[in-house]
Amino acid sequence: MAESTPILRIEDLAVHFPQGGGLFGAPRMVRAVDGVDLTLARGECLGLVGESGCGKSTLALAVLGLQPPTRGRILVEGVEGAAAGAARKARARVAQMVFQDPYSSLNPRQSVRRTLEAPLRLHGVAGSEIDDRIAAMLKHVGLRPELADRYPHEFSGGQRQRIGIARALILEPRVVVLDEPVSALDVSIRAQIINLLLDLKERLGLSYIMISHDLGVVEHMSDRVAVMYLGRIVETGDWRDIFARPRHPYTRALIAAIPDPFEKKRTMRMTGEVPNPLAPPSGCRFHPRCPEAREACRAEPAPQLETIAAGHRVRCLRAAELAPAGETA
């Protein structure tokens, strides 16, 4: 196959955190990320969704090289170890992050210029090129270059998020991680930032991993979507597959739970206990809450991610049976 090397490939990635460690016995492990395989193509936006604590940010931190993996590999343009463990300087060009909260993620004592200049200097950019690149970047994110000497408190929330985006992009990283990039912003400002992120992706050929709880935003922005549950990917596919033809019962529950202003619907109710990441359920980790679970779903080994259609993969024993009528498994 003549497929080009993905910009990012994650293989069997695991990040485990020791937790507590009582008076007796070894500490227990939180398996925040537990065997994740993912690829990100050049110029693609991969939406990453799943409930709080399922490991999305931990996965993102591993990609940024800020969280050493317990197991597995992260390859950037086919090269292993480009992020994890590498020197800070090399890491910075691999991946950068846009944070959720534009208020706390900017240093209040640094002007915009200082914020953008520091990484450039660290990478050997000097002289008038610094000013040129800062001015160009501010224009890219829709801020007037004259604003460079102002401080964060002089900007609105939307403007601050633009500065956060400029900071992430200034070194032209190969992967940009957006962790809830608009959830702290007001509705009307959200639209501005979403439009900006999509424009920049087109204009600069950026590749995004975007984490969001807002599935409307995910559907709007993503090319592909990965759904995580307790440290594992349970479904990935083209955005159309995930939103129009979700196959995993968890994905179905997620989509059914989104309130739609134009359609009043009773939401699908999940049963069972909210899972404890310290003691994940046996077999399929979703089985205690799954309306479709059978006895076999409790048993080890846990189901693998299986391809059900081109580019559409699901981790569910009953995936074939759950295919809607008229669709092949």
Partner: protein, 325 residues
């Protein structure tokens, strides 16, 4: 029609700075009937939370009720004494606060804070109350509720704290529930369960609910009627379905068009989201005339000069806009 449980009439909330009163909220009127859920939407800083705080008697300087009436079960909450208000609070009126950390006592285990509601308002013994507190935690889907009950607020994640807040607010089955962004820190699936819980409570006990949210989808699903606030004014008040299908105020229309709506991309391809120019003005700098006029794409000449009054719409509901005046 029977009398509504809550009637807010021409409420004004003043922000007093250096002896000058600025109307942070002005001429806001709405009613909520028993078992009804009324939604309040609008951008950050529009006055949604201060309106709710006024209803539960928790405005603190520099904010105060400047004018108007808040009629509830034979009382005027705008005039009521502090002692009477304290008695109503928790038992008949309760609130799910936007910022759970400020509303929880950092020095008390969360189970005890819930139990206290049963002791204070229902005459339960502490032993009985602690048991009911664990049940209340389970009902808001806190895992291992018996263990969690012993935790202090700082030991819980944001989402867990929000659930504790909700358990406290729902504990005594209030007549009026003020829910200020009740589910923002929660996942969609847990959000759906909490909303279901509020819906069930409202249906079973006739609880009236004031639901405040940025999430228009959520509001449309939960509410029969919706009020849209902008810069301290109620600019539109309608049946929820009508607001979303056929918004009357340009601000409402802008809010709806700025949403990435689920399913829209599949149906029509990816359209650029509509942006509303500018930002919400601060309370001390509200513009003359219609407060939305500097940002409004449909501005008329008089909009900058005269403040539009409320107009009744033929299809029902009201709007504050010269295009309908």
């Amino acid at each position: 029609m029977s009398e509504p449980l809550l009637a807010v009439e021409n409420l004004r909330i003043d922000l007093t700075i250096g002896g000058v009163h600025h109307a942070a909220v002005k001429d806001v009127s709405f009613t909520i009937g028993r078992g009804e859920t009324f939604g309040l939407v609008g951008e950050s800083g529009c006055g949604k939370s201060v309106t709710a705080l006024a209803l539960i008697g928790l405005l603190r300087p520099p904010l105060s009720v400047g004018a108007g009436a808040i009629r509830f079960k034979g009382h005027d909450l705008a005039q009521i004494g502090a002692d009477d208000m304290r008695r109503l609070r928790g038992a008949s009126v309760s609130m799910i606060f936007q910022e759970p950390m400020t509303a929880l006592n950092p020095l008390s285990p969360v189970g005890r804070q819930i139990a206290e509601m049963f002791v204070l308002h229902k005459g339960a013994t502490w032993v009985e109350a602690e048991k009911r507190a664990v049940e209340a935690l389970a009902s808001v889907r806190v895992p291992a509720p018996d263990r969690r009950a012993k935790d202090y607020p700082h030991q819980l994640s944001g989402g867990m704290r929000q659930r504790v807040m909700i358990a406290i607010a729902l504990a005594c089955g209030p007549d009026l529930l003020l829910a200020d962004e009740p589910t923002t820190a929660l996942d969609v699936t847990v959000q759906a369960e909490i909303l279901e819980l509020i819906r069930d409570l409202s249906a079973a006990r006739g609880t009236a609910v004031l639901m405040i949210s940025h999430d228009l989808g959520l509001i449309a699903n939960m509410c029969a009627r919706v009020g849209v606030m902008y810069a301290g004014r109620l600019v539109e008040e309608r049946e929820a379905e009508d607001v979303f299908r056929d918004p009357a105020h340009p601000y409402t229309a802008g809010l709806i068009a700025s949403l990435p709506l689920l399913g829209a991309r599949a149906r029509h391809g990816r359209a650029r989201l509509q942006e509303i120019e500018g930002v919400v003005p601060s309370v001390t700098a509200f513009p003359a005339g219609c407060r939305f006029n500097p940002r409004c794409a449909e501005r008329l000449e008089r909009c900058a000069a005269d403040d539009p009054a409320e107009t009744a719409l033929a299809a029902g509901g009201r709007v504050r806009c010269w295009r309908h005046g």
